[in-house]
Symmetry: C2
Subunit: 350 residues, 2 copies
């Protein structure tokens, strides 16, 4: 072993090696690869040739030090469970982000924020101070969210996946309108004849559930109806099951229930069925997200499908734009769409 501890990258070519081989200066090589400055075509080709021959790749650490750009962005996933869980929908999000980053040689840094365990301000501050990422993608927008101001103060470009609690605080990606899917769902249910529709939504304090609850009420009103009930429970199957039981125990149970997520809806269906009632004959159920498993439960889940991949991709595109990159790829963002399967039907006695 010639080098201590067998440290690799001891022989990895540098820009000077390339320059030497091409018979130019290091600066020239830099210019060729960054498209900055003017280099004659023949020289440029010689440089490229040399780089290829040496298999040279610019050293990101050196670039980061010199330019103070990390060529990486961060994704902050939040979780409130004791054992940090990353929601199922984030999976598509990540893929979408990567689809735009990797062709540009941008890295994706993952950060899991644990509510209760991490101090929010300190967490985000350290994100910024570590200078490992040029910008961040935030998720899980809450009412009164202070993270956007924080990131702005820290000078870290940020894009929210979701809708901010008040306009103008941050760049964001979301369906337009953010409540998309709710009116369609209500129309669908009302069209089937339902008049007593309940909404077991996600927790209070989060923006998306809020928006959806309001849209729910508004659209029912449009039909001259009022909600059977609206509840806010934690994003967990167990919480949804419990609330479902409560609803079913009531004097006049709803004939249809919307849930905040697919897994909540699945738990709700199970709860309904376990009491001898049938879905959709006795109670119709609608989920939210469009997870694949919804096609394989009995009955198949009617749900509002979102396109997590596209959301991630769009968020990455917006953030890269903020960072001065030009995006030429197509970055479509489809509206959430109601997928009617088997868990919805006309109410009993119609």
């Amino acid at each position: 072993m010639t080098s201590p501890a067998g440290r690799r990258r001891h022989g990895r070519p540098t820009i000077s090696d390339v320059a030497a081989l091409a018979g130019v200066s290091a600066g020239a090589v830099s210019k060729v690869f960054n498209g900055t400055g003017r280099i004659s075509p023949p020289t440029a080709e010689r440089v490229r040739e040399a780089a290829r021959k040496l298999n040279w790749t610019p050293n990101p650490a050196a670039i980061a030090l010199r330019t103070s750009r990390a060529q990486a962005i961060g994704l902050v996933l939040t979780s409130s469970s004791p054992v940090p869980e990353v929601g199922a929908a984030n999976v598509g999000l990540i893929s979408g982000i990567e689809s735009l980053l990797s062709p540009r040689e941008y890295g994706l840094l993952l950060n899991v924020f644990l509510t209760g365990q991490h101090d929010e301000s300190a967490f985000y501050r350290s994100l910024a101070e570590r200078q490992r990422m040029d910008g961040v993608i935030l998720t899980n927008s809450v009412v009164g969210d202070t993270r956007f101001d924080l990131m702005r103060d820290l000078g870290v470009p940020a894009v929210l996946v979701g809708t901010p609690w008040k306009p103008g605080v941050v760049d964001y990606i979301d369906a337009d309108p953010p409540s998309a899917g709710i009116p369609e769902t209500v129309d669908h249910l009302v069209g089937l004849g339902h008049r007593d529709v309940a909404f077991v939504s996600g927790p209070d304090g989060f923006v998306l559930p809020n928006i959806r609850r309001e849209a729910f009420t508004a659209r029912l009103a449009h039909h001259g109806l009022t909600p059977h009930s609206i509840s806010s429970v934690g994003y967990s199957p167990a919480a949804a099951a419990e609330e479902t039981s409560r609803l079913l125990d009531g004097a006049a149970p709803p004939t249809a229930i919307l849930y905040g997520t697919d897994t909540m809806a699945i738990a709700g269906m199970r709860t309904i069925q376990s009491r001898g009632l049938r879905v959709p004959e006795d109670v119709s159920v609608v989920g939210f997200e469009g997870l694949e498993v919804g096609e394989w439960v009995d009955p198949q889940l009617t749900t509002v499908q979102r396109f997590a991949f596209q959301r991630g991709r769009a968020a990455a595109a917006k953030l890269l734009g903020l960072l001065g990159e030009t995006i030429e790829e197509d970055v479509p963002l489809e509206k959430p769409v109601l997928i009617v399967r088997q868990s919805t039907a006309p109410p009993r006695g119609r």
Copy 2:
């Protein structure tokens, strides 16, 4: 919402600022923070004090350049679907990895490898050449996997989550034995009286399905039985459903079916039920992974639970060890355990 996107960083204190404030040299500050060299306690305290006051954090780019260590590791997730999907179980894995990384100020770089779309050798080579990560965590071990040799040749420490196709090629984390859960499942089923047990396993070519198939046959033999059938299908609910139909159409259908994943099992149950058969009365079903949704399907899914979080954590610990870090945390790794719920029962006619 146009963020400055530009030069923050101006005003960020450097090690020299700290040194100046503490009245020492920059070298001294470095020594204090790295525990290298000998610095007198009072001086060290002064330095720490100064750093705190200036809110100084070492610049990772500078460290990376100087030491050629990125203080980050990579996680490679693989996917074969056209739209890159990251499996549900990876979610726990990521959390587990992060739980060990973040206290050490290590970053986690995500890389999604798309089978068919990416050239394997080039992909991993570029991972190494980019020098953004000090090591990688690999998943989805396949038979004849060449990635381990590749990483070794490239000098990049690697840890596999799973079992390698042949011993000694790579450090790895897996249950001991890797087939854990299978014997318990077989014993459970045989104990219930099943003699015709089928296994709808994951794809051929992957190591884990192979191991599990062999263990399945071996354990049945231990009971003097032979498999009803063993099939290898893609990791998708649809593929599992199709195979289930095939089994059910056979002359002598199995009375119990093991599936490669929970979602496959759920799809299988649905297929069974859609043909007028009942789970578990007509056919018992067992899944694999222990996803929460398994508790909320009807019947509740009997499954082999793995602990993805722990696996991620253990893999991170091993990789950090390879990188010379000392791990003091507890890094337990429980064996997969059979969770008997409602989808298994004695076969009909017993």
